[in-house]
């Protein structure tokens, strides 16, 4: 069985091919190249290197978000269109869980971080068997640190954006905060595939209804709701 994995949910890009539990090829980059330009050529190249034709792929795993809205959409659009036209199942994996997966042998809690500006982050808190203690979402960093401060375990922070908040994290958690080495800060499409393989394969009829997990409504909707409330009061 051949899996194609696609992660474009933040600045880094990762594309991987896994055949029968073996990683054939993985292409990862942290360069700031727009995914619209980089993603499909990388898919094309990865398949070419492995000498695999598009119609030989059996399933697709995609990072479904959260992350950059445009980035998530590009990956989901590519994955969805490929899965639909090749008539193969599409499995979505949380971008945060995929990143947390890089900390597979860590004994404590795992906290993947994506910056969401204004002291907010996209994050979740994972136990080392990948159960979510705090579900993926858009939180203020402060509220997440408060939850973590009440735990006893060490916490592994993973992601390129940890550097933005590292000082604040250390201030609250001190030595219990462990920072992942740089090579684990990038999402890996092979880890995404490994997590997708643990999920049941959806029927191909579900592909049309696959949507990104933005974990946030749009600014226009937020403003509209607050205007409605103002008008009511």
């Amino acid at each position: 069985m051949i899996w194609l994995g696609i992660d474009t949910s933040n600045v880094p890009l990762s594309i991987a091919l896994v055949q029968d539990n073996q990683l054939l090829v993985e292409w990862s980059s942290a360069l700031n190249v727009t995914h619209s330009v980089g993603a499909m050529p990388a898919v094309e190249e990865v398949l070419k290197q492995a000498n695999i034709k598009p119609n030989e792929i059996d399933a697709i795993a995609v990072a479904e978000g959260p992350g950059s809205y445009t980035g998530v959409r590009i990956g989901v659009t590519i994955a969805k269109t490929l899965a639909w036209t090749l008539k193969i199942p599409l499995v979505g994996v949380s971008s945060l869980q995929a990143l947390a997966g890089n900390g597979v042998f860590f004994k404590g809690l795992i906290c993947p971080i994506m910056d969401a500006r204004r002291l907010n982050v996209f994050t979740g808190i994972y136990t080392n068997d990948f159960n979510a203690l705090l579900p993926d979402g858009h939180y203020s960093l402060e509220s997440v640190l408060e939850i973590l401060a009440a735990k006893d375990e060490d916490i592994l922070f993973i992601g390129k954006d940890v550097s933005i908040h590292w000082e604040a994290i250390q201030q609250v958690l001190g030595k219990r905060a462990i920072r992942a080495p740089f090579h684990l800060d990038l999402p890996k499409a092979s880890v995404l595939i490994e997590q997708a393989m643990k999920k049941p394969l959806p029927s191909i009829d579900e592909t049309h209804h696959f949507v990104p997990e933005y974990k946030r409504i749009t600014e226009a909707e937020t403003n509209w709701h607050s205007e409605q409330k103002k008008a009511e009061s």
């Binding site: 727009t34 619209s36 659009t77 036209t85 990104p212 600014e219």
Partner: protein, 339 residues
């Protein structure tokens, strides 16, 4: 016998998710448009982020429907054409990446199409084009006069320096408290009116084929404001009629002057605003009198659709224009010649 050329078109540059299959660049086999107007209504205009979210939700369903209605399979196709620009960048990227993935999976060539070239080539789906040809493209995003000496040759003669005509319609409609999209409502009110408020015509420098609608929009707003301050009752029909007659007169006279200067054989109007009854009638009357052939595609081909993208893409493909998997969205793309 020469084999038919079958092109799949995809368009997502604004708030319509569309796919269509066209034979030989001039015959629609299937044409599917999923409109988002209802989702944007409450915000009074297109919200780019919401438009992009909708495109992701709709795109594969629209593609499947286009194939189903045509009773075709991917291997019946010869190429995939997609709007490359101009448009809302986040919206363009959905169509482009869907087109790339579809073309790659089915090993089909990919063709990036300019949205305005698409609007012009909508006419090809109705009847053959005669050159030299002048196209007036008017929509919510564009107001352009394009001269074509031949297939795939484009010369931009004039364009708006500020608001697009359709944008001015939407803004004036908002001032008149008409629902979004405002164009059809203004057109209707204008037809109900016997009188019209006199608003200025903005001609710019003598000889210019460019347009400016933001001054006109401001005079409408000033007029409303002053009338309100004096406690006068406003007649929305007369405001709509006055505004529309200014827009229509400027569009018609500049198009006519350009048509005469470049001695064209045919004039076509395209884009969403070409559906405006006031504009259609004025252009029709003018060019019938001048003895110049004038065509407007039917309404469903004036508003954004993918058949027009497939039609333009078909001609480009024949001229050998294909794109790579690295194609990006070009929100400010300019028209270029398909040599």
């Amino acid at each position: 016998m020469i084999k038919d050329q079958i092109v799949l078109g995809i368009e997502t540059s604004c708030d319509e998710t569309a796919a269509s299959i066209v034979r030989n660049g001039n015959e629609i086999i299937s044409n599917v448009v999923s409109s988002q107007i209802e989702s944007h209504k409450r915000f009074g205009g297109v919200v780019p982020e919401i438009a992009s979210r909708h495109h992701v939700e709709e795109v594969t369903m629209v593609l499947e429907e286009a194939l189903k209605q045509a009773n075709m399979k991917p291997n019946d196709l010869d190429a995939v054409a997609v709007t490359e620009g101009p448009g809302l960048v986040g919206a363009l990227l959905i169509g482009i990446n869907a087109a790339k993935a579809f073309a790659f999976a089915n090993q089909l060539p990919l063709v990036g199409v300019h949205h305005i070239a698409g609007h012009i080539y909508a006419n090809q789906l109705v009847e053959p084009m005669e050159f030299p040809l002048l196209a007036l493209v008017v929509s919510g995003g564009h107001t352009e006069i394009v001269l074509m000496q031949n297939h795939g040759s484009f010369e931009l003669i004039g364009e708006t320096r500020d608001d697009a005509a359709g944008e001015a319609y939407d803004k004036v409609a908002r001032v008149l408290k008409l629902p979004y999209p405002g164009g059809p409502h203004i057109d209707r009110l204008a037809h109900e009116s016997e009188e019209a408020i006199a608003f200025p015509r903005i001609w710019l420098e003598p000889g210019s084929y460019d347009f400016s609608f933001s001054g006109l929009k401001s005079s409408v707003i000033n007029y409303m404001h002053n009338a309100e301050q004096r406690g006068e009752e406003i007649n929305p029909q007369a405001v709509a009629a006055g505004f529309q007659s200014s827009v229509v007169e400027v569009l018609t006279s500049k198009t006519l002057r350009a048509a005469k200067e470049y001695k064209v054989k045919q004039v076509i109007a395209a884009g969403g605003v070409a559906a405006n009854r006031g504009l259609r009638k004025s252009l029709e009357d003018t060019f019938i009198k001048e003895g110049i052939k004038f065509t407007v595609p039917p309404l469903f081909l004036c508003t954004d659709n993918a058949a027009m993208i497939a039609a333009a893409g078909s001609v480009m493909f024949e001229k050998g224009h294909t794109s790579s998997m690295a194609m990006n969205g070009k929100p400010g793309m300019t028209l270029f010649d398909w040599k």
